[in-house]
C-alpha cells in the first residue's frame, strides 16, 4: 500500500529539487543593478498611490465561504460514489439517502442565489 506512494515521493523530490535549483540559479546568475525607483511596485509608471493592502470586495469572502460548504459536500459525495454500486444490491436506499442530502444543499444553494450572494455587479 505505502509502496505505491514511493514513486510519488521520488517525483516530489525531483520536482522540489528542480524548483529550488531554479530559484537559486536565478539568484546567482543575471545582472543586478538596483535603484529605488526601479524597485518600486509597478503602477503604470507612476509613483504608488496609497498602500497595497487595500480593502477589497466582500464577495471574495462570500465565495470562499460558499466554496467551503460545497467542497465539503463533494468530500461526502466521493466515498458515496465509490460504494454506490455495492450498496445498490440492498435496494435504492443509497440513492435516496443522497437525494435528501443533495436536496438540503440544493435548497441552501437556491437560498444563497435568491439572496443575491452570487451576483457580481
Amino acid at each position: 500500500m505505502a509502496e505505491n506512494y514511493l514513486p510519488i515521493l521520488v517525483i516530489f523530490v525531483l520536482a522540489a529539487g528542480f524548483a529550488f535549483v531554479s530559484l537559486i540559479i536565478t539568484h546567482l546568475v543575471g545582472p543586478r543593478v538596483t535603484n529605488a525607483v526601479k524597485m518600486m511596485p509597478y503602477e503604470s509608471g507612476v509613483d504608488q498611490v496609497g498602500k497595497t493592502r487595500i480593502r477589497f470586495s466582500i464577495r471574495f469572502f462570500l465565495i470562499a465561504l460558499l466554496f467551503i460548504i460545497f467542497d465539503i459536500e463533494i468530500v461526502f459525495l466521493y466515498p458515496w460514489a465509490v460504494v454506490f454500486k455495492d450498496f445498490l444490491s440492498a435496494g435504492s436506499f443509497i440513492f435516496f439517502e443522497m437525494v435528501v442530502f443533495l436536496a438540503i444543499l440544493a435548497f441552501g444553494f437556491i437560498y444563497v442565489w435568491r439572496n443575491g450572494a452570487l451576483e457580481w455587479e
Partner: protein, 484 residues
C-alpha cells in the same frame, strides 16, 4: 450490504420532531426567499412547526428508546426538555414580533428559522448518549445563537456582542472538543455507556487523561451556561443582543446545558462523580456570589438580568453537585420556572425599550401609574426570581435547597440563602422604581396584544404554581426518575 445495520425506520421515527423542525425551518427560509411580505405568516408557519414537533415528541414518549446504535436515547427526561425548548421557542416567537418591527428587521425570515435550528441543536444535546452528538447539538445551537445575537445588523452594540460571543464561544468549543478527545483517549469510546463500562471495569488508559478530559468538558459547558469564572462574556452579550434574543439566550441554552450536564455526569461519569463534588461546590458558591454582587451594582436592566441569570446558574449547579432523583427533579422544576419567568421579564423589557437605547433602572420610574397591569406582572416576575412565597420561584428554590440540605451541604445552602437575600435588593429595586418613584419622562410602550396576553398568563401561572405546584412536580419527578 445490509442497510439495517446502520439504522432502521424506528430511528427515523425517533427523530421525527427534529425532522419536522428542520423542514419547518427550511420552509420558513423559503418564505423569506420568496419575499412573502407579511411577517405574520412566517411566524405562524414557524409556530405551527413547533406545535407539530411537540405533538410528535409527546407521541414518542413512553419507554426508553435507544436510537442510531446508542447515539441517542429517548426517555421521559429528554421529552421533558423537548417540551421546555418548544415552549421557550414559541414564547420567544410571540414576544419577538413587535420588538423586531420596532427595531426595523421584522421581515427577516431568518430569525424564526435560526430559533428553530437552535431548538434542534438543544434537542440533540439532551437526547445525546454520545459526546459527538452533544458536540453536534452544541454547535448547531451556538452557530444559530452567534447570528441571532448580532441580528440587528445596523446596531453597533448588537454587532459587537455578536462578535464577542462568536470569539469566546469558539474558544469554549475548543475546550469542549479537547475534553471530548481526551476522554476518548482515556476511555476508548465517546459513547456514554462505553465510558461507564470502561470506568467500572477499570480499563481506563490513563486517569490523568480522563481527569483532564472531564475538566475540559466541564469548562466547555461552563462557558455555555455562564458559570463564574467563565461568565465574562455574558453581560456584554446579553446587553447587546436584541432583547428577545437575550430572553432566549438566557433560558433555552442554559436549560440545554444543564440537561446535557446532568446526563453526562449521571450516565457517563456516574462512578466518578464524587471526585468532582468539591469542584461543583466551589463553582456553585462562586457563581451565585459573584453573579449576585455584580448584579447589585448594575444600572442597566438588561445587564442586571444578565448577572441575575449567572447567579441562577450557580443555584442550579447545586443540583448537579447533589445529583440524586430529588435534586434532578428540583433542577427541572427550577429550569421551568426560571425560563418562563425570564422570558416574561424580557418581554416587558423589550416592550419598554426605546429606539436604539437600552433602559436603565430609573427609566422605569412611574411605570406603574401608566401601565398597572404590566407593572404587576413585572413585580410577580421579580418576586419569583427572588424566590418569594407564594410565587413558583419559592417552590423552585425550596426544592433545590432541601435537596442539598438532605445530602449535608449545609454550608453551601447557607451561602445560597444569603445570596437570595442579597438578590432581593436588586430585584425589588426595579419594583420600587416602578411603584414608588415619580416619573421623569414618559415611557412609550409598544407591544402586540398577543404578547401581553401571554405575559399575563405567565404571571398568573407563576402564582398558581406557587400555591399548588403539585402538577408540575409530578411531571418533573417522573422525568427525573428515568435518569436517576
Amino acid at each position: 450490504m445490509d442497510i439495517s445495520q446502520f439504522f432502521t425506520s424506528a430511528d427515523l421515527f425517533g427523530i421525527a420532531p427534529e425532522i419536522i423542525l428542520t423542514v419547518t425551518a427550511l420552509s420558513v427560509l423559503t418564505l423569506e426567499m420568496l419575499h412573502v411580505s407579511r411577517p405574520g405568516i412566517i411566524l405562524m408557519v414557524a409556530a405551527l412547526g413547533l406545535f407539530l414537533a411537540g405533538a410528535l415528541a409527546i407521541n414518542t414518549s413512553g419507554d426508553e428508546q435507544i436510537l442510531f446504535g446508542g447515539m441517542l436515547v429517548l426517555n421521559r427526561f429528554s421529552v421533558f426538555f423537548d417540551f421546555l425548548y418548544i415552549t421557550i421557542g414559541l414564547l420567544t416567537l410571540i414576544f419577538s414580533q413587535g420588538y423586531l418591527e420596532k427595531r426595523g428587521s421584522a421581515s427577516r425570515g431568518e430569525y424564526p428559522a435560526l430559533i428553530l435550528f437552535a431548538i434542534i441543536g438543544m434537542m440533540l444535546m439532551t437526547r445525546a448518549n454520545d459526546l459527538v452528538i452533544v458536540f453536534l447539538g452544541l454547535e448547531l445551537l451556538s452557530l444559530s445563537l452567534y447570528i441571532l445575537v448580532g441580528f440587528l445588523r445596523h446596531d453597533q452594540l448588537s454587532n459587537e456582542s455578536g462578535l464577542k460571543y462568536l470569539l469566546l464561544g469558539a474558544f469554549a468549543t475548543g475546550f469542549f472538543l479537547f475534553g471530548a478527545a481526551l476522554t476518548y483517549g482515556a476511555a476508548g469510546t465517546t459513547n456514554y455507556n462505553g465510558i461507564v463500562t470502561a470506568i467500572t471495569n477499570n480499563t481506563i488508559l490513563s486517569d490523568t487523561y480522563l481527569f483532564l478530559g472531564i475538566g475540559l468538558l466541564l469548562i466547555g459547558f461552563a462557558f455555555k451556561v455562564a458559570l463564574v469564572p467563565f461568565h465574562m462574556w455574558s453581560p456584554d452579550v446579553y446587553q447587546g443582543a436584541p432583547t428577545t434574543v437575550t430572553g432566549f439566550l438566557c433560558t433555552a441554552p442554559k436549560a440545554a446545558g444543564f440537561g446535557a450536564l446532568i446526563i453526562l455526569f449521571n450516565r457517563a461519569f456516574v462512578d466518578i462523580h464524587y471526585q468532582w463534588q468539591d469542584i461543583f461546590w466551589i463553582l456553585s458558591a462562586m457563581t451565585m456570589t459573584i453573579g449576585n454582587i455584580s448584579a447589585l451594582i448594575q444600572h442597566n436592566v438588561k445587564r442586571m438580568l444578565a448577572f441575575s441569570s449567572v447567579s441562577h446558574a450557580g443555584f442550579l449547579i447545586m443540583g448537579i453537585l447533589v445529583l440524586n432523583e430529588t435534586s434532578i427533579s428540583a433542577v427541572l422544576f427550577y429550569l421551568v420556572v426560571y425560563s418562563v419567568v425570564n422570558l416574561g421579564a424580557f418581554a416587558i423589557v423589550s416592550a419598554a425599550e426605546q429606539e436604539e437605547r437600552g433602559l436603565n433602572l430609573k427609566d422605569y420610574r412611574g411605570l406603574a401609574a401608566q401601565h398597572p397591569w404590566l407593572s404587576a406582572a413585572m413585580t410577580i416576575f421579580m418576586l419569583s426570581l427572588a424566590g418569594f412565597p407564594p410565587t413558583a420561584g419559592f417552590v423552585a428554590k425550596f426544592g433545590l435547597f432541601s435537596a442539598a440540605v438532605s445530602q449535608g451541604y449545609i454550608g453551601l445552602v447557607i451561602i445560597a440563602v444569603l445570596n437570595t437575600l442579597i438578590s432581593i435588593y436588586y430585584y425589588l429595586r426595579l419594583v420600587v422604581n416602578m411603584y414608588m418613584q415619580k416619573e421623569e419622562s414618559t415611557l412609550i410602550l409598544s407591544y402586540k396584544m398577543l404578547a401581553i396576553v401571554f405575559v399575563g398568563l405567565i404571571a398568573i401561572m407563576m402564582i398558581i404554581l406557587g400555591i399548588t405546584p403539585g402538577y408540575l412536580l409530578e411531571i418533573v419527578t417522573e422525568a427525573a426518575s428515568t435518569v436517576a
